[in-house]
Symmetry: C2
């Protein structure tokens, strides 16, 4: 068959088929549990090969819109847990996107043998040397975020020789150390005295705390706890099926 890659429309065949099927589902015309046409039939309907349809179906599965069972067919999925994509930006970018001048100040930097709390935060099995950094990110004249970070020196030897006076540990680590996975937790706390002082807040003010634990290929790399003052900071996440 002659290939006319210039699709009869504007985008690729994939996108057109994908959009069609997504449309059927989100409009409710194909409710949860409805069985979609078989790959062979869709291929015939769109006049394309089965593999093209298969690719689309793969995307639909990944986005959670459909479920597929061999021998039975493909079905519109029951919507269940929503999963949203949380974008975690660099703090500097975050501040600058608010049209404020970004400031960074190192508050403390100490090296020690990891204690029980350090090992818990990093998820260490046995004690190693850790670097403990506290620093403050500011937006214009105001404190923006307090960062308390632990770096596992067993994984990041070169951090021992870096002062972190000019460059924040976040971007430095990102450029320096390959990492494989991360886990985030978000909670609300009342600011403790020391935090409140550094963030120039009244004591017991509600703060948003984002804690991120990062692993490299060979073990824990770093744990960072970012404390954002009051309700000034908002974390957002988007969900869109088939993204």
């Amino acid at each position: 068959m002659r290939k006319d890659t210039a699709i009869s429309g504007d985008t690729t065949l994939h996108s057109r088929i994908l959009a069609d099927i997504e449309g059927q589902i989100v409009s409710g015309e194909w409710p949860p549990g409805h069985r979609l046409p078989f790959e062979v039939d869709l291929a015939a309907q769109y006049g394309c090969s089965r593999m093209t349809v298969n690719k689309v179906m793969g995307q639909l599965v990944r986005s959670g819109l459909i479920e597929r069972r061999k021998k039975s067919g493909s079905f519109v999925a029951q919507p269940k847990a929503q999963s949203a994509v949380l974008e975690i930006h660099d703090i500097k970018d975050e501040v600058q996107s608010l049209k404020l001048t970004y400031g960074y100040a190192l508050i403390s930097r100490t090296t020690r043998r990891s204690d029980a709390e350090d090992m818990r935060r990093l998820g260490l099995a046995k004690a190693t040397d850790v670097l403990d950094i506290t620093c403050l990110h500011s937006a214009g004249p105001d404190p923006f975020c307090l960062e308390k970070r632990l770096i596992n020196l067993a994984m990041v030897q070169q951090a021992a020789g870096f002062d972190f006076i000019e460059i924040a540990p976040g971007p430095w680590l990102l450029a320096e150390v390959p990492w494989t996975s991360a886990q985030h937790s978000i909670q609300a706390i009342s600011a403790e005295k020391e935090e409140a002082r550094l963030l120039r807040l009244p004591p017991h003010q509600a703060c948003l705390v984002i804690e991120r634990q990062t692993w490299g290929q060979d073990g824990p790399v770093t744990n960072v706890r970012l404390t954002y003052p009051g309700s000034r900071h908002v974390v957002t996440a988007q969900f869109k099926p088939g993204g």
Copy 2:
């Protein structure tokens, strides 16, 4: 060439190639900016067709590990904004996974013409009728989460005839209304008097507030604000490249 789908290993060819390349990247052997072999060369190296390699490359692009430029080739991406997947579970499941008995109580349910605040929360362009629901989810004997929800009756007519006494609006909407996208925001607040009373908290206690705005195909469906007491609730998110 004879097809031996029984892969020389344990999984599919895809997975093997994907794992190999991911390994090169996360181990740091291929640092950011490094150019990967061309598709043709990888295909030759693995003794497979170019399309198989192409599929893998597509996954690597989607997971943000590489960037591809025509004529230049494929390059290991500079790690930038981290994006994590936030799983937003049903509150009932959340409570039950803590081995606590789930309880639900409707506190108020009123219908009105949307005021300015309603329109802001729902993102309405012009006024419609809205259903305003306040309810409480509990875990064992304790309040777990306060839910304040608006439902756009122009989009969800059938909600007007439902009492929400036995069934919480969240699961009801999930089953009843197809939706296309959602946006979440998370922030820390100090509990106001009314919230503190319902959640049985001392006033001004720090609370985590998750607000979710949901759109259907034809417009705003619902806005829900979930207030979790104190630092008892933690939202978690996972990141794993190439997931």
